[in-house]
């Protein structure tokens, strides 16, 4: 029994150390973003020789949103003879096919790819098929609910002028922020994640993440990797690590803001975060050893890469820590325990209120010029518990995938937009 208690205490100390590590990381990011030297993308490069770009839009039953993204892409300030738009209709059974065909008849550079019949469904499969027909060396991907501003394609593509750049990532901004409490909280979350986290990682030459949408990559590179791995749900994180392991870099373009539709219901958000966690943890199992062995990454890139890979596993470890604390409580160990239990939980909230400490979200909102919405910060306490639970379920899913070699199925995020244009 004594050994068990000892081990439980050791685990609590381990957890505390780990959370402290994340706090230091996020404080450095926040400090760097608010007053440190900032690194720009290649947005100010003047080059008339823009490369041919293929824009992919994976779609599954996207009739509510399809025309918004297509309209926005049609209006892009990019030579139309140097671009093609490939909306990938992935087994839709609503009006998506009709909408795409309608656009294709009006614009010659819109070339829908219809995936029907027995072909397996899912974003990685869809992207792999689109890669086979794409003419461009540069591929830019948008999710169907995104609405890119006019100049964005150029802002993203110009970065590939640097041969070391393997992928580029823009900033995601929710379009439906005022809709309800959840969308307001998600707006703050996105703000913390992009305005501070991604930009700071780019500033510090760490590992800014390619997010799978509002971003692009080199086709030759992904073909060298053998295409997208259909077993992995987080194909974006998978690609990020493959790019860094292959000695390429990801550029983060904070200026390239793209509007997205954030989930408007908690159940949709729960499924989304569980899927992200599952996919991210699959990538953890896949890349942790190659990352440690890699000679292409600096020491700090490895440290950041490890912390990034583990970020969706930490909530599960914290859930175990809570059970650990409960056992210690009923074992009569509270007497020596309150100080570091309190510390641990305070840190937990600091670090994982929203996968970002409150001060990081505060600074992001401050930089964005947001004021009243910042007053929602205390509510992240409840989101913390919500995230803790669903992220832990996602980790268990990933672990089960690993052990049983189960193949993950792709689930689309529900759309909420009221399409009144039909």
């Amino acid at each position: 029994m004594d050994i068990l208690i000892f081990l439980l205490k050791v685990y609590m100390f381990f957890l505390m150390f780990m959370i402290m590590l994340y706090i230091v990381r996020h404080f450095v990011f926040t400090y760097n973003r608010i007053c440190g030297e900032q690194r720009t993308s290649y947005h100010d490069v003047m080059d008339n020789d823009l490369p041919f770009v293929s824009v992919f839009i994976p779609m599954h039953n996207e009739e509510k949103v399809a025309n918004y993204i297509l309209d926005a892409l049609v209006e892009q300030v990019y030579p139309k003879n140097m671009m093609e738009i490939i909306p990938i209709n992935d087994h839709s059974n609503d009006r998506t096919k009709d909408i795409l065909d309608d656009y294709a008849s009006k614009y010659s550079y819109i070339k829908p790819l219809h995936r029907l019949g027995d072909e397996p469904r899912g974003k990685p499969y869809a992207l792999n098929d689109a890669l086979k027909v794409a003419k461009g060396e540069i591929i830019v991907i948008y999710d169907a609910d995104y609405i890119p501003p006019k100049g964005q394609l150029r802002e993203l593509v110009i970065n590939f002028i640097d041969p070391e750049v393997g992928a580029v990532m823009g900033r995601v901004v929710p379009i439906n922020t005022p809709r309800n409490l959840l969308t307001r909280l998600l707006d703050l979350e996105r703000s913390g994640g992009y305005q501070v986290d991604q930009q700071a990682r780019y500033n510090l030459d760490l590992i800014p993440q390619y997010g799978g949408t509002v971003g692009g990559f080199r086709k030759s590179l992904i073909l060298d990797f053998g295409g997208f791995d259909p077993r992995v749900l987080a194909e974006d994180t998978d690609l990020t690590f493959k790019i860094y392991l292959a000695d390429y870099r990801v550029v983060y373009v904070n200026k390239a803001e793209c509007y997205e539709e954030a989930p408007e219901s908690w159940s949709v958000r729960a499924r989304q975060i569980r899927r992200w966690s599952r996919g991210h943890n699959q990538v953890l199992f896949k890349h942790i050893l190659p990352l440690l062995r890699s000679e292409n990454l600096s020491f700090w890139q490895k440290v950041d890469g490890i912390l990034l890979l583990f970020i969706y596993m930490v909530p599960f470890l914290m859930l175990l820590g809570f059970l650990d604390a409960l056992i210690l409580f009923f074992s009569g160990e509270m007497e020596i325990f309150p100080s570091f239990l309190a510390l641990s939980f305070i840190m937990a909230y600091n670090s994982f209120g929203n996968f970002a400490p409150f001060f990081q979200i505060g600074v992001a909102g401050f930089l964005d010029g947001v004021s009243q919405r910042l007053r929602l910060l205390p509510l992240f306490y409840f989101v913390f518990l919500f995230n803790l639970w669903y992220t832990s379920l996602g980790f268990i899913d990933a672990l089960t995938d690993l052990i049983t070699r189960r193949r993950a199925e792709w689930h689309k995020t529900e759309r909420f937009r009221e399409n009144q244009r039909r």
Binding site: T40, N176, P338, A342, Y349, F358, F366
Partner: protein, 267 residues
């Protein structure tokens, strides 16, 4: 404003009528010396709180005693030279009937909570979390009540220790996070006022919570002790600490975004 083909589903009303300055490339002209001083001073304040645990506990308890009758103030040596003051107020063990009712109600609570449609899911998880701890505690008292390792005195002492720890955390946590906004001496001084407000709030809230907790242990039994500790303990403090932070930041964000003198742009 041209709609850019967005249709009426989203009319772009989310856009500001006037965008003062680009947000993507701006940074704050922070005075790094003030940042350093604030962090150092706040950590010194934190240290002072920890080193003065005896006198702080005395002040804390002497205020709490006004809110509760028929109790005595006692002290206990926690290390060789440091004593901590606390209120002695007897709690009680739950009866077997109470335990059974709690087991039943917590199981029902866990399952029924999910069916409540008018409360959003993140709050439901919190409610389930409360019931889960209550269930664990009830099971403990059902099977091995004689092994319950605490009494109200232990809890009372530990509460005081935790509370002092929270007092010491407030300058450290807020000091670190507010230091990042130090663009002027005025803001530097205001930051300390905000930390002071948070400390005063924490003191008042801590006193009231202390008395309420002792009352619950006395009237509703030790079965609630785990919930008091895990749910109404330090996590609850973090809500108002971040609350104070968020209100303050929202005010200065509104005020400072218009003054270009405090900002630099990288583009």
């Amino acid at each position: 404003m041209k709609s850019m083909g967005l249709g009426v589903g989203y009319s772009r009303s989310f856009e500001r009528r006037v965008i003062h300055y680009a947000r993507h490339g701006r940074i704050l002209n922070v005075n790094k010396l003030l940042v350093f001083f604030q962090i150092v001073i706040c950590f010194i304040i934190s240290l002072v709180f920890i080193l003065n645990i005896e006198s702080i506990s005395h002040v804390f308890v002497s205020h709490a005693i006004y809110l509760i009758k028929d109790v005595s103030v006692e002290n206990k040596e926690i290390t060789n030279s440091i004593r901590v003051f606390y209120i002695k107020y007897d709690g009680r063990f739950p009866s077997i009937y109470e335990v059974i009712i709690y087991i039943f109600s917590s199981v029902v609570g866990i399952f029924l909570a999910k069916r409540i449609k008018f409360i959003s899911q993140h709050i439901i998880i919190y409610i389930q979390f409360l019931f889960f701890i209550l269930l664990c505690s009830s099971m403990f008292f059902y099977f091995i009540p004689y092994k319950f390792p605490y009494d109200s005195t232990t809890f009372s002492v530990l509460y005081i220790l935790t509370q002092v720890l929270i007092f010491s955390f407030i300058p450290a946590v807020l000091g670190l996070s507010l230091a990042l906004f130090n663009v002027s001496l005025t803001l530097f001084l205001t930051n300390f006022i905000v930390i002071g407000i948070a400390l005063i709030y924490s003191f008042v809230f801590g006193v009231v919570r202390y008395v309420v907790m002792l009352f619950i242990l006395n009237k509703f039994s030790y079965i609630w002790m785990a919930n008091l500790f895990f749910n109404l303990g330090p996590l609850l403090d973090m809500i108002y600490i971040s609350g104070v932070y968020s209100i303050y930041i929202s005010i200065i964000s509104d005020r400072y975004r218009k003054f270009t003198v405090y900002w630099r742009w990288i583009y």
